[in-house]
Assembly symmetry: C2
Homo-oligomer: 374 residues x 2
Amino acid sequence: MPAKAPRFDSLSTPALLLDEAKMMRNIERLEVQAQTLGVTLRPHLKTAKSVEVARRLNKGVAPAITVSTLAEAEAFHAAGFADILYAVGIAPQKLARVQALRAKGCDLIVILDSAEQARAVAQAEVPALIEIDCDGHRGGRRPEDASLVEIGRILHEKGCLRGVMTHAGESYGVRGKAAHAAFAEQERSATVRAAEALRNAGLPCPVVSVGSTPTAHAARDLSGVTELRAGVYMFFDLVMAGIDVCAVNDIALSVLTTVIGHQQDKGWIMVDAGWMAMSRDRGTAAQDVDQGYGVVCDADGQVLPDLIISGANQEHGIVSRRPGAKVTLPDLPVGTLLRILPNHACATAAQYDRYTVLSQGGGALQTWQRFGGW
Amino acid sequence: MPAKAPRFDSLSTPALLLDEAKMMRNIERLEVQAQTLGVTLRPHLKTAKSVEVARRLNKGVAPAITVSTLAEAEAFHAAGFADILYAVGIAPQKLARVQALRAKGCDLIVILDSAEQARAVAQAEVPALIEIDCDGHRGGRRPEDASLVEIGRILHEKGCLRGVMTHAGESYGVRGKAAHAAFAEQERSATVRAAEALRNAGLPCPVVSVGSTPTAHAARDLSGVTELRAGVYMFFDLVMAGIDVCAVNDIALSVLTTVIGHQQDKGWIMVDAGWMAMSRDRGTAAQDVDQGYGVVCDADGQVLPDLIISGANQEHGIVSRRPGAKVTLPDLPVGTLLRILPNHACATAAQYDRYTVLSQGGGALQTWQRFGGW
């Protein structure tokens, strides 16, 4: 008979599970770190996209937040969050939506890295941070770039210059606290130099904003920085575990799945969590340990040694032993419930419209809505 | 100034565009093919997940359909579709939902490949097809496997044996019509042999169901087969173009995106379509031409030579020249609208809750809802 897990009887699989106690530990860990470093934490809600999760930040006192879409900004403002950074380079066509939210009392700030964006933003009288490139990862101007002061002047003329920001996306590609601390210092140094360049030109720069999950946890000194951003830290995932930002046991998110078949000659156990349930993210493929499409746990969340989702079709996952593993394939009959830890929490969560929450104090499962779209 | 595309003025990017005229051509192409082969077409709606798309199949007469989730079965039945195959190995826990739909008059059929599933399905009096493994891709029993007749007997005792089905998922890994035709013959041969094994044991096997998009288009003879299944053919995508099932110009689905910045020294144009907008699917990575996260077109849908999305963050896409390309990077100012053709239509569409439809006859944009979940 399949392993009993009566508390999940009401669920149809695949389902997205959130362990509230682990999430709260993760949230508190970074809040303590920000306090120690003397900076404001501005959590990024691109991973969670949930009002219920947002309400558990900052001991329940609505914090300044970061978002990745205007749909998030609108949803979080409607839920009472009024200090929001939209941290994707602004397209001029989106300024009408930004202005509409600002007119409702939301202090929505945008980011940009060009004079043409600055002119549109200044004309719309929307406050902005200038994006700084600290690691060649994405957008942003280098701190030494002459255009930085030009952009600053365009914004300042209309009182729209709030400061500078950066994100060391390259920190995801290195492993261990020392390597992440070096990227944290790159973030700090680049933004502080940019802020000085602006101030030396007579421009204000009240906000100096940095962050990514790896650098936020590893930073030792953030002198000159005013705020810290991070997102996936609330849930963590196998990519973060693979670069030693967290332990596998810290991962708060998992996908509940059911065994639906076997191909015994191949050592395959088929489950109903395919790539639609896990996402196509293979973020651990380039890491020291490739976790396939996820690490397999029993229904209680205990890791089953060396079992991963080694392949995925749209609604079928193939569970098998990690290459080279010597463990015996466990006997998991059709109907057995399993939990899969995801490579990338942002991508896996995006496949679902709700979290099924294992509450901190035990008791009944809760449902927290999440949203997507733009 | 950005290229003008006033018909998209009402849209916030990224947005999922569907070219209805291309979709109708794709739909009709496979309908003609099925008619020529003398089999019933049972379209798979796992890609479209849209009632509006389903209503455009089979010249508007509700066809037999295939689905990948019970959520799809419920939604399509509510919209008037009553002959539905749920083509993922059934978990016993899902039978109550299947029975509830059947009680409402939906002829919902399940698939399975083990005696333990057959016992649960027979007890629930739900009709089933036995999944046959024709290429080692996923689930299913080999036609020669003695368990096939055992499973058939368990089902037949309760009048639940409807037939056999297979899917040659491995056909996605080969290129060209001849190679796909060989897989089509593998599908045909395996299911016909399985049907004969059942019939030789005195069991009925009215349904012999085969299909995948590559094999459905390449099949030359389907003697002994009763129905053909395919899904992504309605939209097509770069993966299908890469194995010569369609031309790039047949792809009906694209993502509208806006230029949000430049890193000129690197030859990068930043757009607001990252992996959240495109999905993490990199299905062309293993093909002859790696299309990154998608092929870049202008706002009218004309391919811009050798421009692809070469990298993606959650909400940022990096447009750059294909490695080795000699074209000059076009001047695409901030605010320019572009359209991106996706690697994998199923995965990209799943990131959206609606299609913005470029109607066949021209005229205003339409919105068609799509759904997800399980």
